[in-house]
């Protein structure tokens, strides 16, 4: 520890600390622009110059290491003179257009200019003009003359997002921040640059000129999107959500949020919002009052239960639903006599159900990722499925942790990976088996039975090696199962192999989880005892209750789902939006409030219980989902539906309370006993690889206009390697007819070398591919 004195206050700081660190510890404020605690030190703004005893000139606090006995003066004459001098330089070419600047009121430069700027400028020359740049739908770079060249955005790209999308071109005062010639900013974390920009150079395009920061109320919320559960500050004006910002929580999202967390709020005011209950009368949909709609649903459900038995009713919820909604849905469905309830529409293999030792989860805390020595991610479109989880792995790799990927495409992860193994979906189990076998061999123990015929490849061996390093130490190695590993037709085999690998290496096994409540659904027991999320459409039922889901887009096999819905006698959809397909098959549409308009709870991947309140009133006649289900329970005269608040519902699910849910365990009761892997068993024809594109993953993001203009929201294509294209006799850039079972889609063929041979990557979760079948499995491609 080193002694330091700042403005007469003493502190002890660890070796390697800078004056800025020490000042923050002491609560002494040193003005700064380029310094940011999560970014590398640039020391280029020079605003944090302070006086250090015995130093002949002022030193930058952000970059000067503390030495023992150092005495620092942040407000001495020398320091103030230096700071004011820098402020004058920063302002001479700044347009000083605060009254029309979007950053006005929350601008670091504006704030510090009050303290350090002069009343008038001595600069009488022409000011610099920097041309505006077009960088995509999310970030506005219209007023780049405001830029003070702190390079926070550049460093964010290099260090946090993993892609350097912005850079500083030119030199001297003609330096300017820009993208590589003509490119746009496309990272899934790009919106954070808006927060980082200390001036109004980078601003939010959707929010621009819609409100002043001081008019906005700040309300706390939780992201309803991915499984990280990012903490949000939702800013509200009147009864409208105007924008979403990160709420710092070092254990969860640090100070970042992904672009979909940030910009999905636009969908809250979408014209597609369902604002009144709707029922089908004589084939036409008609708006009705709530009591009429609920009576109708109640009678219809009772009729079906009486005539066909309760088991003829199936309920499917979105994993983005709140814990309370999931709980009430399963409670209601079971009370009606059906065990066909599920919240995992993307899943195909449910054979682990009933064998699980507990609630599947991440296997560790998010904050523990940084301490890992090695990590293996199995089956994930990492960056797009889990932007901030990927960010944590990126930081791990930057610090020397060995991150390996085993997946079905070689997408750019922007992570400096240790080893990478890309195989077709059909070979995924085999490849993981190979890693298990390599680990057993390297460790010198018997190879688990069933793996006799598997031969590990070089990458598999490298992965096993990294997981075995430093074996025995706890919390140092992890295996993460991504969305593909859970959606895969042999998900349980992958799960069992991961457990086997964990047993050999001492690594933890975890599921990253695809949605905000992927853990919460298990906690709420929204799990089938009869038909699961796939079977309920494979074996059509008489009635369907849908919660927050568009089955024609959100299901593993949308073709089958739509067919089942169309033949059924009753489809009740609780939804915030009216979608084209639902208008076709639904008999009742009940408007429920999205996350910003309801209270509820999400349980994130690490099992953290995060409850939130609504930040605005529900739109129109829509009502919180838990209230709708509660009243429906009352109308159906079911017992145990007399809740007064969503907290009561939550406390029924989690009577012990606490920050984390109990019973988290990724174990399986049966091991590998019934598994025999044999190479060559893979299918011979073309296989489909379906990703769920980041901005199609849930009903909210699908309707957020700005997100829909990003490159990530481009139309799905049939992506194949050049060799596969040639094999199929189609040219890149031509229209192809993609067929699966009875369905087909017309798509553009695109050459993509990240797709393994013999595979076609066709995104799921999009209307243009909704006519297709399973996410993984046989597919054919022919010239259109």
């Amino acid at each position: 520890m080193l002694e330091i004195e700042i403005d007469g206050k003493q502190a002890q700081v660890p070796a390697g600390s800078t004056i800025m660190d020490a000042a923050q510890l002491l609560g002494a404020y040193i003005p700064h622009f380029c310094y940011h605690k999560k970014l590398s030190i640039a020391a280029n703004c020079r605003m944090c110059l302070v006086q250090v005893e015995k130093a002949p000139k002022p030193l930058p606090a952000c970059a000067t290491p503390v030495t023992n006995g150092m005495k620092v003066f942040t407000h001495s004459e020398l320091a103030i003179k230096a700071q004011k001098g820098v402020m004058e330089f920063l302002l001479i070419n700044h347009p000083l257009d605060c009254p029309i600047c979007d950053q006005g009121g929350e601008c670091q430069l504006q704030d510090l200019a009050v303290g350090y700027g002069g009343g008038a400028s001595r600069y009488q020359e022409a000011k610099r003009v920097v041309f505006h740049k077009e960088v995509g739908p999310l970030i506005s770079m219209q007023e780049m003359s405001r830029c003070i060249h702190c390079t926070r955005c550049v460093r964010f790209g290099q260090e946090i997002a993993g892609i350097m999308e912005l850079g500083m071109a030119n030199r001297n005062m003609h330096s300017e921040i820009q993208t590589f010639v003509g490119r746009s900013v496309d990272s899934e974390l790009s919106g954070n640059m808006i927060d980082l920009c200390p001036v109004g150079a980078l601003t939010s395009k959707p929010f621009r000129y819609s409100a002043r920061s001081w008019e906005l109320a700040r309300r706390r919320s939780i992201s309803p999107h991915d499984s990280l559960g990012a903490n949000l500050t939702v800013q509200v004006k009147g009864n409208k959500v105007m924008r979403v910002l990160p709420r710092e929580n070092e254990d969860v999202n640090e100070c970042w949020i992904s672009d979909k967390d940030r910009f999905s709020y636009e969908a809250l005011n979408s014209p597609e919002r369902l604002s009144k209950p709707v029922i089908r009368v004589d084939g036409a949909l008609r708006e009705v009052e709530w009591n009429v709609a609920l009576d109708y649903v109640s009678h219809a459900l009772k009729d079906i239960a009486q005539n066909h038995g309760g088991e003829a009713i199936a309920a499917l919820a979105s994993p983005h639903s709140t814990l309370e909604e999931l709980h009430l849905l399963q409670k209601l469905t079971r009370a009606l006599g059906s065990g066909s309830v599920d919240f995992r529409p993307h899943r195909r293999d449910f054979s682990a159900d009933g064998k699980r030792a507990g609630t599947p989860w991440l296997g560790m805390k998010l904050s523990e990722i940084k301490d890992l020595d090695a990590a293996l991610v199995v089956g994930s479109f990492l960056r797009k499925d889990h932007p901030l989880f990927a960010q944590r792995l990126r930081q791990l790799a930057r610090k020397g942790g060995k991150v390996s990927l085993l997946s079905v495409t070689a997408d750019d992860s922007s992570i400096n990976v240790h080893a990478r193994l890309t195989v077709s979906p059909a070979e995924l189990v085999l490849a993981l088996g190979g890693v298990v076998k390599a680990a057993a061999r390297q460790k010198g123990v018997a190879v688990p039975s069933g793996l006799e015929l598997v031969e590990p490849c070089a990458s598999g061996k490298a992965i096993a090696e990294s997981l075995l390093q430093g074996e025995g130490e706890k919390g140092k190695r992890a295996i993460f199962m991504g969305n593909v590993a859970e959606q895969h037709p042999q998900a349980t085999q992958l799960h069992a192999l991961a457990l086997e690998l964990a047993k050999l290496t001492g690594a933890s096994v975890g599921f990253v989880g695809e949605a905000a409540n992927s853990v919460g659904g298990y906690v709420a027991k929204a799990l089938p005892t009869a038909l699961d999320g796939y079977e309920m459409f494979a074996q059509p039922c008489k009635a369907y209750l849908l919660l927050g889901i568009d089955p024609e887009i959100d299901c593993h096999n949308p073709q089958q789902a739509v067919a089942a819905l169309k033949q059924s006698a009753l489809v009740v959809s609780l939804s915030s939006f009216k979608s084209g397909a639902a208008l076709d098959y639904a008999d009742v549409l009940l408007p429920i409030a999205p996350f910003a308009e309801t209270s509820g709870t999400f349980v994130n991947a690490e099992g953290r219980v995060q409850s939130f309140n609504g930040v605005v009133r529900p739109l129109g006649d829509s009502r919180p989902g838990w209230k709708v289900l509660r009243v429906l329970g009352n109308v159906l005269a079911l017992p145990g539906f007399d809740y007064d608040s969503s907290e009561q519902v939550r406390d029924e699910i989690l009577p012990e309370g606490g920050v984390f849910v109990a019973g988290l365990d990724n174990g399986l009761d049966s091991g590998l006993s019934d598994l025999t892997l044999a190479p060559g068993a893979a299918a011979s024809g073309l296989q489909r690889i379906a990703d769920v594109p980041i901005h199609f993953a849930d009903p909210l993001v699908r309707r957020a206009p700005a997100l829909q203009q990003t490159r990530d929201a481009a139309l799905p294509a049939a992506r194949m390697s050049a060799a596969t294209l040639a094999q199929q006799g189609v040219a890149a850039g031509s229209q192809v007819r993609v067929k699966q079972a009875q369905g087909e889609a017309l798509l553009l063929a695109v050459a993509d070398e990240t797709v393994p041979a013999g595979c076609v990557r066709v995104a799921a979760a999009h209307a243009s591919t909704a006519a297709l079948g399973d996410m993984f499995g046989a597919i054919s491609v022919e010239r259109a």
């Binding site: 030190i41 640039a42 020391a43 280029n44 703004c45 020079r46 605003m47 110059l49 002949p56 000139k57 002022p58 930058p60 970059a63 290491p65 230096a82 001098g85 820098v86 004058e88 330089f89 920063l90 001479i92 070419n93 001595r122 600069y123 009488q124 020359e125 003070i148 060249h149 850079g167 500083m168 030119n170 030199r171 001297n172 005062m173 003609h174 330096s175």
Partner: protein, 442 residues
């Protein structure tokens, strides 16, 4: 012949004929004997560094930091790669000595770098050559090929077990890449922008490894120190200023060019060697160490000797030894305008005071020169330079400020005249007569 004159020369001795730069000629002049002896004797590294310390060789790039001391900062026992880097990014206006060393005596630099690498346990070296002297770069590559073919570079040099690989790297002419950490960034393939220090290159240099960076002339002097002995080298100059040094004399002299003289030689002798003042005019001012060093009025300069200490006493810096001579036909406002434009143009734009300040300085000086000056402009310039100096990441901010401060200090009346009368104190016809470009019209 590039070196126009010399007194007791070392680096420029015997550079006659077209092949003087070739390995064979260099060896004939006694080249590589120092390296061979060190390797044959397996001379302890400490002894090599001590010899350099004894010579009081001071860095020839501009700062004049004692080379031996710099070498001793290198963590020799640090495991892993270490680098020696030669800074031949000679971009300072007025300086043109390194290109001649590389053109006429490249092997002295190669030998010097090899000895440095030996003394500091480095196994790789880079010579970063200014991008605007392409033919120098290609010649140095040829010299490297010769040295490699002769087994003087590469694996197991002369059977000693010592490995040293040396590579030439050319820049693209950015002045800032002569700043040592910007130079390292540029070698790494990044934008040439200085790093903040600490950490210094000796602990975190090229690719994050311990690195020593010296000027071309510094490395070129090493073989002479090792063969003549440190003390002999010191005696060739004067106390605390060891050795001879190349001076690039430019401006209003009859024979502009490079001259090698012992440190401590009177300025008047150097001026005489350079053929004296052109047209017999009076010396008005002299920038003794490259454009960033403060200008020294003629009468003070005439009393100086050419060494680090004497020039420092006169209020300037010996710098890289670029002596810019200005006679009485010079308009000092115009001269400063040109210098200020250079620093504004070459500022890397990274840190605020330099990016904004150099531009501001240029604009104000430009305004004064063009008859738009305001009464308080001189105070404004003084204040802006004070706000730049000592507040930047690298020394370019200081380099841009010092000419402004010194020009105004010594020639304030000229600036004041410009502001007041909207024209130059030195009549235009006098300026034209002195410029050399307007001969036909005068």
């Amino acid at each position: 012949m590039a070196i126009l004159g010399a007194i007791n020369p070392m680096l420029s001795l015997g550079l006659d004929g077209d092949n003087a730069w070739r390995l064979a000629d260099y060896v004939k002049r006694g080249g590589y004997s120092a390296l061979k002896r060190i390797l044959a004797e397996k001379m302890p590294q400490e002894q090599v560094i001590n010899e350099v310390k004894k010579s009081v060789l001071r860095g020839r790039g501009g700062a004049g930091f004692p080379t031996g001391l710099k070498w001793s900062f290198m963590p020799r026992s640090f495991p892993g790669e270490k680098y020696v880097v030669c800074n031949s990014d000679e971009g300072e206006p007025g300086t043109f000595k390194d290109r001649d060393i590389l053109r006429y005596n490249p092997h002295s630099v190669i030998e010097g770098m090899a000895i440095a690498a030996y003394a500091m346990s480095a196994t790789r070296g880079y010579n970063y050559i200014h991008g605007e002297v392409w033919e120098i770069y290609t010649r140095f590559e040829e010299a490297l090929d010769e040295a490699r073919a002769a087994g003087l570079l590469g694996e197991n040099i002369l059977g000693s077990g010592f490995n040293f690989d040396l590579f030439a790297h050319h820049g693209y002419g950015a002045y800032i890449c002569g700043e040592e950490t910007a130079l390292l960034e540029s070698i790494e393939g990044k934008k040439g922008q200085p790093r903040f220090k600490p950490p210094f290159p000796a602990s975190f240099g090229l690719y994050g490894k311990p690195t020593t960076i010296n000027n071309t002339e510094t490395f070129g002097s090493i073989p002479f120190i090792m063969s003549l002995g440190g003390e002999h080298f010191l005696e060739a100059g004067k106390e605390n200023n060891g050795g001879t040094k190349l001076f690039s004399v430019s401006g209003h002299v009859n024979k502009p060019g490079n001259y090698e003289i012992p440190l401590g030689t009177p300025f008047s002798t150097l001026l005489e060697m350079a053929g004296g003042m052109r047209g017999g005019r009076k010396l008005k001012g002299c920038i003794p160490g490259g454009s960033s060093s403060p200008v020294v009025p003629g009468e003070i300069m005439m009393g100086c000797t050419m060494d680090y200490d004497s020039i420092a006493k006169a209020g300037s810096m010996l710098g890289s030894g670029a002596v810019i001579i200005m006679d009485e036909s010079t308009c000092m406002v115009k001269a400063l305008e040109r210098l200020s434009f250079f620093y504004y143009e070459e500022s890397c734009g990274q840190c605020t005071p330099c990016r904004e300040g150099t531009n501001w300085l240029y604009k104000v000086v430009h305004r004064i020169e063009n008859g738009q000056g305001r009464p308080d402009d001189l105070d404004l310039l003084a204040s802006v330079t004070a706000n730049i100096m000592g507040r930047t990441i690298c020394a370019l901010g200081d380099a841009a400020s010092m000419p402004v401060q010194s020009f105004i200090k010594h020639y304030r009346d000229e600036f004041a005249y410009h502001i007041e009368h909207k024209k130059c104190l030195v009549p235009l016809e006098v300026q034209r007569a002195g410029s050399g470009f307007f001969k036909a019209t005068v």
